[in-house]
């Protein structure tokens, strides 16, 4: 099938089979390997991308769903060397260790900031409870998220 979308700000046309998932296509066909595959069951959040501004599990979303929509992966957040505020907050708070959850976590915080611009601590924690990090213990990730919300 033919899918037209705006991928990280660029009009993009993709020829793909009906059964292809966003995760496979961005990683293997488009070389955007920042989106990570972990649980592969829409539980861990490491493959989170934004589809028309909404957080989506790329592991369980058909490429067909992106037709006519805007898809943003981690590679689309920064503007050249300029980090976006969420990325910068993760840097400021050392909220990264192995980094494998990081792209999905950053996309989740980006979605959080759009969904709940005035989120309190409980909302932040609840929202991010669907995204797993095994390294950091979340403390610095939550600090980074709070910084993003407070800005």
């Amino acid at each position: 099938m033919h899918v037209d979308l705006v991928l990280n700000g660029e009009l993009t046309a993709i020829e793909c089979a009906d059964n292809e998932l966003i995760l496979d296509v961005v990683r293997e066909r488009l070389g955007l390997t920042g989106t990570k595959r972990s649980c592969d069951m829409e539980v861990c959040g490491s493959c989170t991308v934004l589809l028309d501004g909404l957080a989506a599990s790329a592991c369980t979303t058909l490429v067909a769903e992106a037709d006519g929509k805007e898809l943003v992966t981690i590679e689309g957040l920064s503007d050249g060397d300029e980090l976006n505020p969420v990325q910068q907050a993760f840097v400021d708070h050392a909220a990264v260790q192995c980094g494998f959850c990081t792209p999905g976590m950053i996309m989740s915080v980006q979605a959080l900031a759009m969904d709940h611009p005035d989120a309190d601590d409980e909302t932040i924690s609840e929202y991010l409870s669907g995204t797993i990090c095994r390294c950091t213990g979340y403390v610095k990730i939550l600090e980074a998220a709070r910084q993003v919300i407070s800005e």
Binding site: M1, N19, E42, A56, T60, T61, L62
Partner: protein, 286 residues
């Protein structure tokens, strides 16, 4: 994990969708959010050759809130319900439930109708909607029909959908100000370990336990006790009902949990009622 091959169809009208279902029979599956369907396909538990995407059918994307009912199209996502101001006003307990389903990504894509059709035994909405006497509207080769959610979910991953039939709407009665509604869940892993919904209105009571059996279970004995305003007895009846049906190790704990959740759902329901002027207040609290 990859998906097995299939052809994706995107009908624009319900009639077209039904034609596709009729044409491909068992080899077709209705595809909405895909949060459950695509997952079981990836795991190899289902391999339909045709997915019929119902999201672009305008009728299925509608969400109407009137004074006495919600009409939720099968394509309406959890997210839309969760963030819908009229639903929040009419049935806050549903919004509260929707907010807790799975994770934000699943709620963004998944639909209430899809959730019911999947009939996963740990479904939150199935428990509450059974208690609210909600109905599903189905369309198929033989026309349209309505079924109570309680009659629609037959067992684990099993519904009363006939071949070629599709769920089009979920109809939820909006409880009046004289009706108390409560819902509680407890989660230990990814899905709820137990859920309980309670409804108490002028016409009677509903107590429904979810996640502890293949489908939501009504507990008539507990309902009778609630009608008598005896929450303690209702809690006991709920625990007994679970203990009678659950034969796996640890059943006593789950039976106890069901009772605890009923008591908590009831207190939440009465607390909500007390905060709404003119709403019913319980005559006796547990």
């Amino acid at each position: 994990m990859r998906l097995p091959p299939f052809t994706l169809h995107r009908p624009r009208e319900l009639g077209e969708l039904l034609e596709l279902l009729a044409r491909y029979g068992d080899d077709a599956a209705v595809y909405m959010g895909g949060t459950e369907l695509l997952l079981i396909m990836k795991l190899g538990f289902a391999e339909p050759g045709h997915l019929v995407d119902a999201k672009s059918i305008p009728e299925l994307g509608e969400l109407h809130v009137s004074a006495d009912r919600l009409a939720i199209g099968a394509g309406v996502t959890h997210r839309r319900i969760e963030r819908h101001h009229d639903v929040q006003r009419a049935l806050p307990v549903l919004v509260d439930l929707e907010r807790r389903i799975a994770n934000v990504r699943v709620r963004n894509a998944g639909t209430l109708g899809g959730n019911l059709c999947f009939a996963e035994p740990h479904s939150d909405p199935a428990t509450l909607l059974t208690a609210l006497d909600a109905e599903v509207e189905l369309a198929g080769p033989a026309g349209r029909r309505r079924l109570a959610v309680a009659d629609f979910i037959l067992g684990a991953l099993s519904t009363a959908l006939d071949p070629g039939e599709v769920l089009t709407h979920v109809h939820v009665p909006v409880p009046g100000p004289d009706t108390l509604v409560g819902y509680e869940r407890i989660v230990f892993t990814e899905r709820p370990a137990a859920t309980v919904a309670v409804v108490r209105g002028p016409a009677g009571a509903r107590v429904v336990v979810g996640a502890l059996g293949p489908r939501p279970m009504r507990v008539p004995h507990a309902e009778m006790r609630l009608v008598e305003d005896d929450i303690d007895a209702a809690v006991e009846a709920t625990s007994s009902a679970v203990a009678d049906t659950d034969t796996e190790p640890g059943a006593d704990y789950r039976a106890h949990l069901a009772g605890v959740l009923l008591r908590r759902a009831w207190s939440a329901a009465t607390a909500n009622a007390l905060s709404v002027p003119g709403a019913a207040a319980p005559t006796k609290q547990g």
